[in-house]
Symmetry: C2
C-alpha cells in the first residue's frame, strides 16, 4: 500500500470482526517496528504477543474490559527496558568491530556518554550530581538537560518505543487490518501477567484485528492545523 | 512510495547536501504527523518550523552544533502542551455537537475522565489523592495507574507526540528526503528560542534534508529480533 494511503486509512478501531489476523501480517509489522529510530540505537524495546488463552483473558481484564481488547484478534504489549542498554551496547560494539571497527567518536560515545545517560547510582546520587553540574555548565553553554533520574530515563525510553509502536500500527494498516493503541490499562497487572519486573515499562497495549465498522465511532476529527503548526 | 519501502529506506542521516527541501514535501509530512493517533484525541502537539536565520543559528547552537542540525535544509521542533487539552476539548465537543451530537459515553469521558487525567491541583494535591485512591481500589480491581502528576502527564504527552514524529519522519522518507531525530539538545535554550513557557515540553528536534552519503555512518545495525520479540 502507498505510504500516504496507509497513514490516511489508519484509524483507532475499538471493535473487531471475529476473524483471525494471519501471523505473517503480525510478523511483518513487528519487523517494521524494530526498524524505528531509537535512542542511541540501543533498541530498548521488548514486544509481547499475548497468545495463551489464560494470559489473554487476564489481559482483557487488565485493559479494563475495553471492547477493543475483548474483540481483538491479537493483543500486543510494547514495553521498554531500562537495563538492556549494557547488553545491547556490547552486541553493537561487537558487530561494529566485526564489520571493520568503529570510529573513535562512536566508541567514546558508547563507552563514556551512554553510561552517563543511563546510570544514576544509588538513591539517584549520580543523577543529582549530574543535574547540578549540568545546571551550572548550562548557564554558560548549551547542555543536555537529562535524563537525570530513572523517571527521566523512562520518559526517554517510552518516547523511543512509541516510534516503534507507530511503525507497527501503520504497518498493520498498510496490510488492510486495524489497530487500537490503548492507554486505559492497569500497568501493574499487565506486568504481572507478562512476568515483568521493575526494569520494565509498559508503554502501550495495541489491539489488532479486522475492523468492525461499529468500532469506528465517527469521521476522523482533527482540529484546524493552524492551532498546531507554526513557522518562526 | 510503498509503505514498507518507506520504512526500509528511513535512516537517521547526520549530514545533508546543500539542497533545499520543497515546502510541499514538508507540508505533506506535517499533515501526516497530525493524523497520528493521540491520547484521547486531544491533539496536544505544537510543531515549529524554524525559518528565520537568527533563530536557525541559535537552534544549531542549542543542538550542541551537531552536523545534522548544522547541515539540515530544515529544522523542526516537535513539542507537547500540557494545557491545551481544555481548549481542544471544547473544540472537539463543539464539532461533535455540530455533527449530530455525541453519545453520552463520549461526553462523560471528556467532561469527567479527562479532567481527572490532566488536572493535578496545587502542589499536586489532587495527584497524590488520586494516587492513594487508585492504589487502594487497585488492590481489588484493575485501575489505570496514572498520570498522577505533571511529570507523568509529560510522559504521556511525549509518547503521543512521538507517534506524530514517526509519521513525519516516514512521510519525509516516502518523498525521498531524509531526517534525523535529535535528543542531544538543550531544551531550556530551545524553549527560549521558540518563546515557549512552562506548559510546553520539547519532545524532539528533527533535521530534514537531502541525505549526504557521508551522513549515514554504516549499514543499518539491528540486533537479533529474538532479543526483543516474545510470545506468551
Amino acid at each position: 500500500m502507498d505510504f500516504f494511503d496507509a497513514v490516511e486509512s489508519r484509524r483507532s478501531v475499538r471493535k473487531y470482526l471475529p476473524e483471525p489476523v494471519p501471523r505473517e501480517v503480525i510478523d511483518r509489522a513487528l519487523s517494521a517496528a524494530l526498524l524505528a529510530p531509537n535512542s542511541s540505537n540501543l533498541q530498548p524495546w521488548e514486544i509481547f504477543l499475548v497468545s495463551s488463552p489464560e494470559k489473554r483473558g487476564a489481559m482483557v481484564t487488565a485493559c479494563l474490559d475495553q471492547t477493543a481488547a475483548a474483540t481483538a484478534a491479537e493483543l500486543l504489549v510494547f514495553t521498554a527496558r531500562t537495563d538492556t542498554w549494557r547488553r545491547n551496547r556490547a552486541y553493537l560494539l561487537k558487530a561494529l568491530q566485526e564489520s571493520g571497527g568503529a570510529p573513535d567518536m562512536i566508541l567514546k560515545y558508547y563507552n563514556e556518554i551512554v553510561p552517563l545517560m543511563y546510570a544514576h547510582g544509588w538513591l539517584n546520587a549520580l543523577g543529582w550530581l549530574k543535574k547540578i553540574v549540568f545546571s551550572i555548565v548550562g548557564i554558560f553553554r548549551p547542555v543536555p538537560r537529562g535524563p537525570f533520574s530513572n523517571a527521566e530515563v523512562k520518559s526517554v525510553l517510552s518516547k523511543t518505543v512509541a516510534l516503534a509502536c507507530q511503525n507497527f500500527m501503520l504497518a498493520i494498516a498498510a496490510q488492510g487490518y486495524a489497530t487500537c493503541p490503548m492507554e486505559g490499562f492497569d500497568p501493574c497487572r499487565v506486568k504481572k501477567i507478562l512476568g515483568l519486573g521493575r526494569k520494565s515499562i509498559v508503554v502501550m497495549v495495541i489491539a489488532v484485528g479486522r475492523a468492525n465498522p461499529e468500532g469506528i465511532y465517527g469521521p476522523r476529527l482533527r482540529l484546524d492545523p493552524e492551532l498546531f503548526l507554526f513557522e518562526v
